[in-house]
Amino acid sequence: MENFRLLAPLAWRNLWRNPRRTVITLFVVSVGLWSVLAMASFITAWAQSSRDATLRLLLAQGQIHAEGYLDNPNIDRLMDRPDATLLAALNAPEVSNWAARLELPAVVQSEYKTLPVSVVGVVPEAEIRISSVPEKLVEGRYLSGPEDDGAVIGLNLAKRLKTALGRRVILMITGEDGWLEERSFDVVGIYDADTAFEDTYVFTGQTAMQNMVGVGDKIAQIAFEVPQDDALSGVVDSLRAAAPTLDIRQWRDLSLMLGAMDASMDASVYVWMSVMMVMISIGVINTQLMAVFERIHEFGLLRALGLKPGHVLALVTLESVLLIGLGVLIGMAMGAATVWGLRDGIDLSAFSQALEAFKSGEVLYLEIKPIDYVIFPLAIWLLGVLVALWPAWRAAKISPVEAMRHAT
């Protein structure tokens, strides 16, 4: 402790004997940490935004199917409308919205092309509450009711089919009797989502579609939404209790891709952090080593004055503790300032075309995750001090006689 009192002011003063070198190291450490923190905020915001955008599009937070439908979505695996028990569970306050859909694989045909799609028979009134597709219409109108036998198709699909609003397309769906039912549908609306989605989904009125394929009032799925993602597994359990024979899943099990993305978003931050750690380590070792070599004469003098090798080691280590600690504090301040500076959200709409593939929303809101501001700075600080032990050890090893003879 006595030593520390003696060495700490010495170390602090030593730092500023060569301000240029100190500032460079501070810069390396603080910018490195800042980039990790800013990136963590950005990736978290992006992942959340793209997850919400995808769930909002059609997936919702969970879906109910007949057993086996998801493995082989065809007309033999439909389910009945929800019975009283399930209806009560769906209308409970824990479920904010739900919508029944009839979804079947189909083929769409225009004068020029025949393409595979998925036709979704919707109840527009319920769909408007749970899905963002009705808001994404760029031409025409959304379906007016379950009896509406118009078709709402994606922008890219319309382009590939060389069809347009008001024209006719043929939809072919395998019906109850095993025959392919063909019917002409007028294109009443065109929506703009991402291309893969646009190429896949065609929407029409549920009753119109049920009549076409002759399935009575059967449906293929119920999509539901809960107000809080934390409450989701509880809701899934209560729905399962209400309908034990049905296949009820939350979005993580419906879209494994999305679930994996959600689970692995932290990993990319850690990868970035390890890269930054290596850069910072190299920077710290380099400057500290240079500092030690330049100060051989000085260390010799200190030893001659009576400092033990352990004291020299402590002195140099203390210098890096202070130096990197200061850098880390500046980095944290910069990270927090960045998030604060972008508190109105990052508007990505200018890049929306390019970002379509990432399915993100158009405005990102950054947030500070407190745990990030503990783990990352601490890790960088500890690692920085650890690598600086090597120059410190070199300094401690110096023999005073040789050092005194060493030209400065």
Binding site: V107, R167, I170, W179, L180, E182
Partner: protein, 252 residues
Amino acid sequence: MPKLTRRNLMKISAAALLLPNAAMAQDPAALLRAAFNNWRATSSHAIAEMTIRGSSGTRSLTMESWTEGDDKALVRFIAPARDAGNATLQSGRRTYVFNPKLNQVIQLPASAMSQSWMESDFSYSDLTKARELVDDYTHTLLGTGRHSGHTVYIIESVPKRGKPIVWGKQIVHVRDDYVLLRQEFYDQSGNLVRTMVADRVRNLGGRPYPTELTMSSVDTPGQWTKIVTQSAEFDVSNPSYLFTRSNLQNPR
């Protein structure tokens, strides 16, 4: 669209006077029905050569075909060796394809019906849905023309509301002896998409018959498919086993 001028009217009435069934000539639906009956008869047996000019060159295939009524047809390729044995069978609403290399009969999913048949400009539905034109369209006589001494009726056919047909309209040229001379397919904006033309009409099997048919798409200029019928017999008695799956796979 040519107007029903006095001159056109004169032509029509002149044609009506000349023809034995004059009433039919003015009814485009009856005209088309007669043309299709002339084309396929109640049954037929023909040998034809199909030439396909594609993007990568020209190839020729020889095929033998049998038809019975409107809904039974069998086409078997006999040359060249590479394609020999390939066969397509239409039986009612079902279409089967036999590939000798796989030794497999595949029932075509209806979604594949609009795909190209043997890489030609014809699709499977062109083979099986020819009758659609007669039944599912409303026909209007647009005017008349002349073709090697015959009167030609130009008919505009518009799909009936609600029928699962992608075309905006078809324009069909039918000769007064019920030969289909030209069939044009238009999209719903009125642009021509593909055309089938009878390049040559000959007397075959005791009836006037379009012996050379060329199908081409506007999309792919320079590419076409031509079917030249070399010999044909009509109203023959085809054995009933002909249009079965087993005969498709193992021809007797």
